[in-house]
């Protein structure tokens, strides 16, 4: 064979391979539909990339996934009333090539579980239970009524807006936690170094516990709030804008580091505790 045809063939092979590579690394969009009934369970595990969950219009789970490369696949299992979606990383995948972006529509009463290292994670307008877990994922939950909300994050910031009538439990090592209009029978935040900001009514006759090791706590409530509050910082300062009725408590109220008392009918129990951060109970 002469050189020229061989070179031509080689160039052709390279061109085909290159074209194949371009095609393979292009984004791929996939869509899945699952018929479910009431109180379906839906879980999505996605190492890299966002997951956004919204209510669907019918009794159906619709999953739209955009895969950034061929180094990641979307696996799914579906049985009876349970849907599970997992991003499966193939050999050589990294945070960019392994990225999948999910938009998931579920019946509003579905129980939803989301896992992502990088996120962000977003859930809105649901009333089933919601469990969100992320490392550095930005977590955003809004307009949830009635269901339990459980969030675990290492360093990702957490924001809850308009969440009511369910249990809220947030555990975050270093991520800041912002609660806007969050009320319910139980609201617990456990943080190591993250800052906790609460802006709401402390309503519903609930038990509110905001605790952090070194982070600051800033709680803003209206003048009509009905609370039995205790605030203490072992090493930091505390400030209070409300005139509290004193209560019988074993808490040694030292000026600047602790206060306790009631407002209104003391319907809700509120604990603001930081080991060394500042605590400020502000009046809206």
């Amino acid at each position: 064979m002469s050189m020229e045809p061989r070179e031509t063939v080689a160039k052709l092979v390279v061109a085909v391979l290159f074209a194949g590579t371009v095609v393979a690394t292009a984004e791929t969009r996939k869509e899945f539909h699952f018929k479910v009934h009431r109180r379906a369970s839906v879980s999505v595990a996605n190492q890299f990339g966002p997951i956004w969950v919204k209510p669907s219009s019918g009794e159906e789970v619709v999953v739209t996934a955009v895969l950034h490369s061929d180094k990641v696949e979307v696996d799914h299992t579906y049985s009876l009333n349970r849907v599970s979606i997992t991003s499966h990383l193939l050999s050589g995948a990294d945070a960019e090539s392994g990225r999948v972006e999910y938009q998931v529509l579920v019946p509003a009463d579905a129980n939803v579980t989301l896992h992502s290292a990088t996120g962000p994670l977003r859930a809105e307008r649901l009333h089933g239970d919601v469990i969100l877990e992320g490392n550095t994922a930005n977590v955003d939950v809004r307009d949830l009524v009635g269901g339990h909300v459980h969030i675990k994050t290492l360093d990702g910031p957490v924001t809850l807006t308009n969440v009511s009538d369910g249990h809220v439990e947030i555990t975050s090592v270093g991520g800041d936690v912002a609660l806007n209009s969050v009320n319910g029978p139980l609201v617990h935040v456990n943080s190591t170094s993250g800052r906790i900001v609460y802006d709401g009514d402390f309503g519903g006759g609930g038990e509110y516990s905001l605790m952090t090791h070194t982070g600051d706590i800033e709680a803003t409530a209206p003048s009509y709030a009905s609370i039995d509050v205790m605030a203490s910082s072992t090493q930091g300062k505390v400030e209070n804008d409300f005139p509290l009725q004193p209560t019988h408590t074993s808490l040694a109220a030292k000026a600047g580091s602790a206060f306790a008392g009631t407002m209104g009918k003391a319907a809700s129990s509120v604990r603001l505790l930081s080991f060394s951060g500042k605590i400020h109970l502000k009046k809206r």
């Binding site: 009934h37 009431r38 109180r39 009333n81 089933g128 009635g146 339990h148 369910g166 249990h167 029978p185």
Partner: protein, 200 residues
């Protein structure tokens, strides 16, 4: 292991767990919880149709059980004792909220409530085509008073005299409510089937 031997093993382990729970052993409480959690939770969930409320009530039922376990002498089956406690916890909660437990109307069926026989209408039977999910959805759509009696009788297996005592109505009323609940479910299930049949 055969079912008989397995169930015998379970009974023995439950009895052991009860005795150890009386002495305050955590693992005994946990064994009892896991043995009965599904039944108690299912009951609470169906009665409240809300997972958060159902979990709260389940927790309260088990806490009451564990507080009183020292008084259990084995006169009745442990599961019966626990289950009755769970029902009482739910009923108390519903009463606190002022929700109706059963209708206080007497038993007479009205003309509107009697099943109407339509000449020439095809009567497609439910038996053989009814599944759990369809029934669950229909139960959720029942009025609260009907749902309560239906759950206690057909799902949980209580007799009418027990239901009457628990919810504070007459035995006749309990029977009437149950019948109305079943008729309403039949109507809901047939309507749902008809709607599905007309969908493209």
């Amino acid at each position: 292991m055969t079912d008989a031997r397995k169930s015998q093993g379970d009974r023995l382990s439950e009895a052991e767990a009860i005795e150890r729970a009386k002495q305050g052993h955590e693992e005994a409480f946990e064994v009892l919880y896991h043995l009965h959690k599904r039944r108690v939770y299912s009951l609470c969930l169906r009665m409240t149709a809300n997972t958060a409320a159902a979990e709260d009530l389940t927790q309260e039922a088990f806490l009451q059980l564990f507080r009183k376990i020292g008084t259990f002498r084995g006169e009745s089956a442990f599961s019966t004792w626990l289950h009755r406690m769970a029902v009482n916890v739910v009923l108390m909660q519903l009463r606190k909220k002022g929700l109706p437990l059963v209708s206080l109307e007497e038993t007479m069926e009205t003309e509107e409530e009697s099943p109407k026989k339509e000449p020439g209408a095809e009567d497609v039977r439910l038996a053989g085509s009814l599944n759990r999910l369809q029934l669950e959805q229909a139960i959720d759509d029942l009025p609260p008073g009907y749902r309560m009696v239906f759950l206690l009788h057909d799902v949980e297996g209580y007799e009418h005299n027990e239901i009457a005592e628990m919810v504070g109505c007459s035995i006749g009323n309990s029977k009437s409510q149950l019948h109305k609940a079943r008729m309403k479910l039949r109507e809901l299930l047939k309507t749902s089937r008809a709607e599905k049949a007309t969908q493209p």
